[in-house]
Amino acid sequence: MTTTTLATRPVAPQQARSTREIVLIGSGAVLLVGLAIWIIWNLVSSPTQTLQASVFGLSNGVLYALIALGYTLVYGIIELINFAHGDLFMLGTLLSAFVMAGFGFTHANVSGIFGLVLVLMLAMVFCAAINVAIEFFAYRRLRHAPKLAPLITAVGMSFILQNIGLQWNGSQQRQWHPAMPGGHVSLGGVTIGYDVIIDTIVTAVLLLIMTGIVTKTRAGKAMRATAQDQDAARLMGINVNRIISFTFAVGGALAGAAGLLYQQTIGTTSYNLGFQLGLIAFTSAVLGGIGNLTGAVLGGLIIGLIQGLNDGGPHGFGQQWSQSVVFVILIAVMVFKPTGILGKNVGEKV
């Protein structure tokens, strides 16, 4: 299939092609150097503030990484941008908030920690179930349809989930009392909250488990086979439908975990959270190289860092440009290196 694309690609004159590439590489390098100068400028003018903003950004970046993994898993296996994934994460925050508050897990004591673990499991199962259901009812029927159809379906699903969130949460942002421990450690003027540390540990553990699943287990092997070539995998006796459902379940579970962690760290829920964070997470996935699991984590951390510096750094543009900065990164990546940082250059599957 790849060879089809390669064979029919028009052989451009060498001169024109190299000119375009030089322009691309040149302007990409200018952008990168500009970014580096900006970060160094921040560091020089106020190291403490910069580091503090970076810690804040990276703690967000950990969550972006969790959500980005869901995008990258689904994209890797069926080449669909699952627009509903961000809203799935939003439902995860809502479930966590309501269950934690409903059972009175609002203080950082033994029962609060117990509640955190319990609701973490619950949110993961909940989001996994929704994701599998969406795949089963909508995307599965469209697997052989023209590419526009599943994309539009995903947008529609995103709207449906967002409206469920709107009815559940209300149109206003809600404030919750988290059960995460509230203290912090100080490292040379930079404070790191316990919640950030817990987030990082939980994410690291989840990532290890997921990497284990993908690389070590039979299901993971089947998953990689399906991602490479669905038909060949089917001929080898792999139940492709079940493996795709499994992938959606893993992605959904990660989104659910991110939902609980976000709600406990930030302490607020709102119905349109999924749209904003989903796009940031997707940008992370693209930045790292979509389909690449390590890349998604790396991309999440980088985006979190840049966003943190923009929002809180001494020379940032400020929070009202936050979304624009992320999209500029997205567009720049798309233009200069569509395969992302770690992505391999493969032709479009035809």
Binding site: T4, T5, T8, P10, E79, L80, I81, A138, R141, L142, R143, H144, A145, P146, K147, L148, A149, P150, L151, I152, T153, V155, G156, M157, S158, F159, I160, L161, Q162, N163, I164, L166, Q167, S171, Q230, D231, R234, L235, M236, G237, I238, N239, N241, L279, F282, V286, G318, Q320, W321, Q323, S324, F327, V328, L330, I331, M334, V335, P338, E348, V350
Partner: protein, 439 residues
């Protein structure tokens, strides 16, 4: 009643029936529909038709008609990008925003230190600001949007279709956020008045209809919806004309070829980049015209009115009506806008008072649009007024299915030998019934 056939010939045996030539069919139909709607609202405003006056005021007020025409223009522009060229654009609202702000800049007292009045409609006694004639502003908005369409398209059109959707979404977020933030406080130059928006936009001059029956000429106030209807219906006709003529021309055929098979189109010599850029530019022109018309219709520009949801509602209009079919898209736009603006709140009120419930119906509109998109894609992918050609293409099985053995097997066999045995049947099945992929 075969009167028209009988009237013309009196002597000659070859009976010449009166037939409308095919190329005149739609302008005449459009004109008749437009005049009928006009006459209906004119009679209501004159105080005739008292029996339907209340009903019309509640269910189909003239402002709803006017705004639905603006949406129809935008949907037609998006139809060129999505329906003709097959490029998913999730940030179309950006062009709408640009068009609106062009009207805001050139038709208001926003630049208060300037005093320019070029055939414009400056409000009396306050010549500050730039006041350019409505039609010139339309052209300016269209050109600026076309430029932006090319700027957005040029670096991104090389991307695969789903990445393209995302990049357009990004632009659809950045441009409204820019207008939202671009005031003195945030960028040191006041470009867009920030969150306040630009208001009021000039009242354009046009025919006015007073309730006593007089027809005059003057600035159109908030209650001259019927006069603005004339402007909007003309602009819509213009965009319909552009859409239909381009569709049958060389460019339109190139768009359809790209939509159906980009590789094949490229191999046949269609210049891919230039054709796609043209789709973006022409689609953006429609968005710009609609944007200018919109800010004249609501007499202002507000930065909060350009969000992602608008792009998706426009997409729903195109999908519901039938991608690629101009009349389907117009119908989809009018139905969905009416439903969102008037039908859902009024119907909800009627439902609540009839059954004594307190359901907030308008808050479910996104659920309905989302369901609509999903169900349409699952069960009626070609829309309700499908174009014959689109229908064929969308019902055709994906190419992967034909080219690979056994991919249409719903249940792969648990054992390997069964799977290999089944693949032969699968191949035969896919050749015999090519539309197995349709749900």
């Amino acid at each position: 009643m075969s009167a028209p056939a009988a009237t013309a010939p009196t002597s000659a045996p070859p009976v010449r029936r009166f037939r409308i030539p095919g190329r005149l069919a739609w302008p005449i139909g459009y004109l008749v529909a437009a005049i009928l709607i006009f006459v209906f609202y004119y009679l209501i405003s004159m105080g005739y038709l008292t029996s339907v006056q209340d009903w019309a005021g509640r269910w189909i007020p003239i402002t709803t008609v006017n705004q639905s025409l603006v949406w129809a223009m935008c949907a037609l522009g998006l139809n060129i990008v999505v329906g003709y060229a097959g490029l998913l654009d999730l940030g179309y609202v950006a062009f709408w925003a640009i068009g609106s702000y062009v009207a805001g800049w050139l038709m208001s007292s926003f630049f208060f230190h300037l005093k320019i009045n070029f055939f414009g409609d400056a409000p009396p006694f306050s010549p500050q600001g730039v006041h350019i004639n409505f039609w010139i502003v339309l052209v300016a908005g269209a050109i600026l949007c076309a430029i932006f369409g090319i700027i957005i398209g040029a670096p991104t059109l090389r991307l695969r279709s789903d990445y393209l959707a995302l990049v357009t979404l990004g632009f659809g977020e950045i441009i409204p956020q820019f207008f939202h933030n671009a005031d003195k406080q945030h960028v040191h130059v006041n470009i867009s008045n920030g969150t306040q928006g630009i208001s009021p936009v000039d009242k354009i001059s046009g025919p006015t209809f007073s309730p006593t029956g007089g027809i005059g000429w003057g600035p159109l106030g908030p209650f001259d919806g019927l006069s603005r209807y004339i402007f909007l219906i003309i602009l819509t006709a213009l965009i319909v004309f552009i859409s239909l003529r381009l569709r049958v021309g060389r460019l339109g055929r190139a768009w359809l070829a790209i939509r159906e098979d980009e590789l094949a189109a490229g191999a046949m010599g269609v210049p891919l980049m230039r054709t796609k850029l043209a789709a973006y530019a022409v689609g953006a022109v429609a968005g710009g015209i609609a944007g200018v018309a919109y800010s004249v219709e609501i007499a202002g520009v507000s930065p909060d009115s350009f969000d992602y949801n608008k792009s998706i509602i426009l997409l729903a209009m195109v999908v519901l009506g039938g991608m690629g079919n101009v009349w389907g898209v117009i119908l989809g736009a009018i139905v969905i806008f009416w439903f969102n603006q008037t039908g859902l709140p009024q119907g909800g009120n009627a439902f609540n008072s009839a059954f004594g419930t307190h359901i907030n119906f308008p808050s479910y509109n996104f659920l309905i649009f989302g369901l609509l998109l999903v169900l349409m894609m699952l069960f009626k992918r070609e829309g309700f007024v499908p174009e014959a050609r689109t229908k064929l293409v969308l019902r055709e099985p994906g190419r992967t299915e034909v080219e690979s053995l056994g991919s249409d097997l719903e249940q792969p066999a648990p054992e390997l030998e069964e799977a290999t045995a089944g693949s032969g049947d699968g191949l035969a099945g896919s050749i015999d019934s090519p539309d197995r992929s349709s749900p």
